[in-house]
Amino acid sequence: MKSLKLTSMKNNETQGPVWEVFIQSKPGQPYKHAGSVHAYDKEMAIENARDVYTRRNEGISLWVVPAEAIVAVSSTESSAFFEPADDKIYRHPTFYNLPEGVKQI
């Protein structure tokens, strides 16, 4: 395509900030992280998310969140955060009998 002059825009700095995308597959189900997109603003973020992640019936609803608004546990902190739960198997509700007809608790 000779007439297209977009080369000046082919630069990472022009893509806008990163947004994390969450998809809900069915009503009532939790939103699951699907990936991320670049966008300049909210409208563009939700539309890019739609075009990148929901083309094959992946979901019925979408959230986009500015990646910088997400607070995460860093890998160095991870052991302090999670390992204390390793030896406390009794915290799982696996010792209960499920009432008949209940599929999920």
């Binding site: 007439s3 297209l4 977009l6 539309e47």
Partner: protein, 249 residues
């Protein structure tokens, strides 16, 4: 030519040629997300064109297929508006051309959904969902251009000034169109025009952009008289069918 066949081809050619223009951008988008979004619109439009060509081939009843209608006609047989064949000069041009067509398509298909022709009615109802999304996306881009940087605003205004002269043709009915209007099949383009003007003014207002003062308009595409870009485009579109006439896929 049968009025209905002609009317089907007008709608199909607009979608087909615009789809090809958009497909030329595939892998050339400014970044991945925009590339995909653009290609999605191209795919929606070619889907629309395909069903119309297939149905038009049946109406014609001369043994031609939908593919024949799409890929084996000469330049003067294509009846798309000149606007859709205009080249991808820059991103502002691509999006402004899209905004003009999306606005047209949105109101056009809203009305066509009441057509007395069952096929067009069903097609319009289905396409309306896609077109509503296209319009949302392209109008937001116009607002973003206008409210962005000096350069983005300047480029968008330049695109508007350059493409405005091809817009009036969208509302100029062909003979077939007028004949079908009598029997409630085609859409009254005067109504579409007033809605179109209203929507474009609204978006221009929000984008701090304006319609050009020069009211000069060009016509011809709907009568098969195209701009200089059309021939080159068709050469590319028809390359495969010309070189390998027996190719199937």
């Amino acid at each position: 030519m049968d009025h209905k066949l002609r009317y089907y081809l007008e709608i199909a050619d607009n979608a087909f040629i615009l789809s090809h223009r958009l497909s030329e951008c595939s892998s050339n988008g400014p970044f991945l997300e925009e590339d995909l979004a653009n290609t999605n619109v191209a795919l929606d439009l070619i889907g629309l064109a395909e069903s119309l060509y297939n149905e038009a081939a049946l109406i014609e009843g001369k043994g031609r297929t939908g593919d024949d209608l799409a890929y084996r006609r000469d330049e003067s047989s294509y009846v798309n508006a000149i606007l859709v064949e205009q080249p991808n000069t820059d991103f502002a041009f691509i999006m402004t051309r899209q905004f003009f067509m999306d606005t047209f398509n949105y109101y056009f298909f809203s009305k066509l959904a009441n057509s007395k022709d069952k096929f067009l009615q069903a097609l319009a109802t289905k396409s309306l969902k896609e077109v509503t999304y296209h319009l949302r996306r392209s109008s937001e881009w116009m607002i973003r251009f206008g409210g962005g940087t000096e350069t983005s605003k300047e480029k968008a205004q330049h695109a508007i000034n350059s493409l405005w002269r091809y817009t009036e043709e969208l509302f100029k009915p062909s003979e077939a169109d007028l004949a079908l209007r009598e029997i409630g099949v085609s859409v009254d383009l005067d109504t579409i025009k007033s809605r179109w003007m209203q929507k474009t003014s609204e978006i221009f207002y929000l984008s701090h952009l304006s319609k050009p003062e020069n009211e000069f308009q060009l016509f011809g595409g709907k009568d098969g008289r195209h701009s200089e870009y059309m021939g080159y485009m068709l050469t590319e579109i028809q390359f495969l069918t010309n070189k390998y006439p027996e190719a199937t896929w």
